[in-house]
């Protein structure tokens, strides 16, 4: 209800009130949290001074451990210690085990969302991720000494709807107010302050442990526009390790140990890789069945091993440039993100491909979290309205299943979000009142080659002759990249009811139940906090409405309309003094409803003024 923001976007309605926005990089291997401190965005350390929180959660029968200790225990208690949970978000068990074999977990079953069986009972990936987020949240509250206003959480640009929704659900479960999900490459671009540079085109090359993302961005007069994004959710530094491990197996003829000593071989491979980052030659001892091997690798050999992987990444870069309708010569700067860009041959290959030395001065582990922290500070309203504006895109096309298992695209990839597209459907039987719709995400033509996002059941369609009902279904993607579907029968104007069944996520009720059960312990606390929150919200509504009325009330409202709004505000002011959370909340909603038309007229007025060359501050 911040009507004030029409005239002064981004500006806090209560400047005296300090607002804390944090940025969180919820990574596959490690997670970080950042916030603005004395005008600079910094990653926040834990009590031991460590910035990286290993994304590992251990469920023993009497403890729940997150981070370093959990990671150290992982080898001894593998089935209760969940590592790299990000790979499971928005996925089913088969998806994950097809890619990563030898996982030590016990799953409840293999369909739908994965459920880990642990010493503390069954947990799903959303709950595990929420534990990591809770730990980061606690770190921030302790370091900053203040409650958090909200958080910006980063996701790989190539995350689909189910993975984004899962991430947002986890944050909600952790008690975080999610200001926005932003894409990791976009966050990196913010961290580098590319928005302060001259207008131009930029590329962010993000090669992590398990995923590769590339984004092409354009800066024009302070508007930062993502032109295209491309990637591969199964391409990363892990593949370098695999290539080295396979090479060791080959050299020493260790084929019989490949499965039984998989973890060990991968560890040795990683050590060799890391040594080669600043040396030309590496040796790491390897003991299998009391026999010592001494795998060695030169930089040249390593470069040759991973060349095909790098070439694959550069092919994806070509695709991104093509989709952005720019050429290599149009690119002004390249930013490197992700631990795997420390590998010298990766840097060289990127520099050769683009013909420019890439920017690397921010720690590639921290850069995403820092960018998210800067954006969070803007979104909570700590900056002036001439700050950067970020326009991001939908990374993967959205479609629906049609006859014969084919996909019809509704919203193509790289469309600027938020976006809404409507599509019309009709019934094919007399008196048909229901319809099933299957929404997919991906670029391929067959449903079986795309991700299944959700199945929607439309009901309450008025019974008519076949083909007479025209159902207009609107697919809307918000600024977080999340899909929402609504449907209406056109001739009657009646809203059709939609029930969503996410393919690999939680229904709305399940989230509510989990929240409820996690809050039961602290009911009284919660009650007091919720009252405080509603009172603060009521103040904000009152303040912004008064200011909006003072500015535009006379011009845009009839006397009757004005009177109705004034009365609703008076009632809110009165209810605010009392202690009934529900009635304050209800009255805020009433004020919202009553002032909707006023808000909409103010929006149109501001748009007209902006384009006719008059700025609002001139009036």
């Amino acid at each position: 209800m911040a009507l004030l923001q029409i005239s002064e976007p981004g500006q806090s309605s209560a400047p005296h009130q300090k607002k804390i926005g944090v940025g969180i990089d919820l990574g596959t291997t490690n997670s970080l949290i950042s916030a603005m401190r004395s005008g600079v965005c910094e990653t926040l350390p834990d009590a031991d001074g460590k910035f990286l929180l290993p994304s590992v959660v251990q469920y023993t029968h009497d403890h729940l451990l997150v981070g370093n200790t959990a990671r150290l225990n992982a080898a001894d208690d593998p089935s209760n210690t969940i590592v790299s949970v990000k790979r499971f978000i928005g996925r089913n068990v088969d998806d994950v085990t097809a890619q990563w074999k030898h996982l030590p977990y016990q799953f409840l079953d293999n369909t739908g969302m994965p459920t880990f069986v642990t010493a503390q009972g069954n947990v799903n990936p959303i709950q595990v991720s929420a534990e990591i987020l809770k730990s980061l949240k606690q770190r921030a509250v302790e370091t900053l000494g203040e409650e958090l206003t909200g958080a910006v959480i980063t996701v790989p640009a190539y995350f689909d709807d189910a993975q984004r929704q899962g991430t947002k659900d986890a944050a909600q479960l952790a008690g975080l107010n999610v200001l926005r999900l932003i894409n990791e490459p976009t966050a990196a671009a913010i961290a580098y302050g590319l928005d302060n540079k001259n207008d131009g085109q930029f590329v962010v090359f993000d090669l992590g442990g398990g995923t590769f993302d590339v984004s092409v961005l354009r800066l024009n007069k302070g508007v930062f526009e993502v032109l295209s994004t491309a990637g591969d959710t199964a391409l990363g530094g892990d593949d370098f390790d695999h290539a080295i491990a396979a090479n060791i197996v080959q050299k020493f003829e260790l084929h019989q140990y490949e499965t039984s000593h998989h973890r060990l071989l991968m560890d040795v491979a990683r050590q060799l890789k890391e040594t080669l980052s600043d040396r030309a030659h590496a040796v790491t001892p390897l003991t299998i069945n009391n026999k010592l091997y001494e795998p060695c690798l030169t930089r040249t050999e390593f470069d040759a091993l991973i060349l095909p992987i790098i070439e694959h990444a550069l092919t994806i870069c070509k695709r991104a440039l093509h989709d952005a309708k720019v050429t290599i010569d149009d690119i002004d700067d390249i930013v490197l993100v992700g631990g795997s860009t420390r590998v010298p041959v990766v840097r060289e290959a990127v520099a050769n491909f683009f013909g420019k030395v890439p920017l690397t001065d921010i720690d590639p582990d921290k850069v995403v979290s820092i960018g998210a922290g800067i954006q969070a500070d803007i979104l909570v309203g700590n900056k002036q309205n001439d700050d950067l504006l970020l326009l991001d895109v939908l990374p993967l096309s959205l479609g629906i299943e049609t006859m014969g298992g084919l996909v019809e695209k509704i919203i193509p990839r790289n469309t600027t979000i938020p976006v809404a597209r409507a599509q019309e459907f009709t019934t094919f039987k007399d008196g048909q009142t229901g319809m099933l719709m299957h929404v997919t995400q991906g670029e391929r033509e067959l449903v079986s080659d795309c991700r299944s996002l959700a199945k929607f059941t439309l009901s309450d369609i008025p019974p008519m002759a076949a083909g007479a009902a025209h159902i207009r279904v609107t697919f809307q993607v918000d600024a977080d990249g999340l899909l929402n579907v609504t449907a209406m029968e056109k001739s009657t104007g009646r809203q059709a009811n939609i029930e969503v069944k996410p393919s690999y996520g939680l229904g709305e009720n399940e989230i509510l139940e989990m929240l409820q059960s996690s809050m039961d312990h602290a009911k009284d606390d919660m009650q007091a906090r919720m009252l405080k929150e509603q009172q603060v919200e009521a103040d904000r509504v009152l303040e912004s409405m008064q200011s909006a009325l003072a500015m535009d009330g006379d011009e845009l409202l009839s006397n009757d309309e004005r009177k109705e709004i004034d009365e609703s505000l008076a009632k809110l002011a009165e209810l605010k003094q009392q202690n009934d959370v529900a009635s304050i909340k209800a009255q805020i909603e009433t004020v919202d409803d009553i002032s909707q038309e006023f808000a909409s007229r103010r929006m149109d007025k501001s748009i007209n003024q902006a384009l006719s060359g008059q700025s609002i501050s001139d009036i």
Binding site: A2, T416, P418, D592, A610
Partner: protein, 168 residues
């Protein structure tokens, strides 16, 4: 909704793209959800819908094909059926020849040459649409509509050519 009105630019095939972009950016600054991250749900919804409409309108006006369709729609001129076949035998022959040339073009130079050929023909069609749409008369709208079908052929050909260049 008239998207030319939304951006306050004159309704025509030839538009000032720089002005369109400037106005788009101004509207983005006023309506983007990031400006309303801590607003009420009702406000967020209202601005998100407006912002989505602005994104869509911008997209429609940017592309010559959808811009032409939009003008014809605003004039209540029926759009050519997407599946309707074209009666212009000469044009269809020419398209087949271009497709042949594309399947045979296997060097960067050959692809460049073909791109130039396609671009110049596409420009001629766009010029024809522009002139036809300058008047709002049934005959000229009809001219624009049939040229639009040809423009779609070229747009498709052009994007396939770009795909081929990417694969090469």
């Amino acid at each position: 909704m008239n998207y030319f009105d939304l951006f306050q630019i004159e309704m025509a095939f030839d538009i000032d793209l720089e002005k369109l972009r400037t106005h788009y950016q101004k509207l983005q600054r006023l309506t983007h959800p990031d400006k309303f991250a801590s607003a009420s749900d009702a406000q967020k919804r209202m601005y998100m819908q407006k912002n989505a409409q602005i994104n869509y309108a911008y997209h429609v006006l940017l592309s010559p094909v959808s811009r032409t369709e939009h003008i014809l729609q605003l004039r209540n001129y029926p759009l050519p059926d997407a599946n309707a076949s074209l009666n212009d035998t000469e044009f269809l022959m020419q398209q087949m020849e271009l497709r042949d040339a594309m399947s045979q073009a296997d060097t960067a130079n050959a692809l460049d040459d073909l791109t130039n050929v396609i671009d110049s023909q596409q420009n001629a069609i766009e010029k024809h649409i522009s002139e036809s749409l300058a008047k709002n008369e049934t005959a000229s709208n009809q001219n624009a509509a049939s040229a639009l079908t040809k423009l779609k052929f070229f747009t498709k050909l052009r994007s396939e050519l770009e795909e081929k260049r990417l694969g090469a």
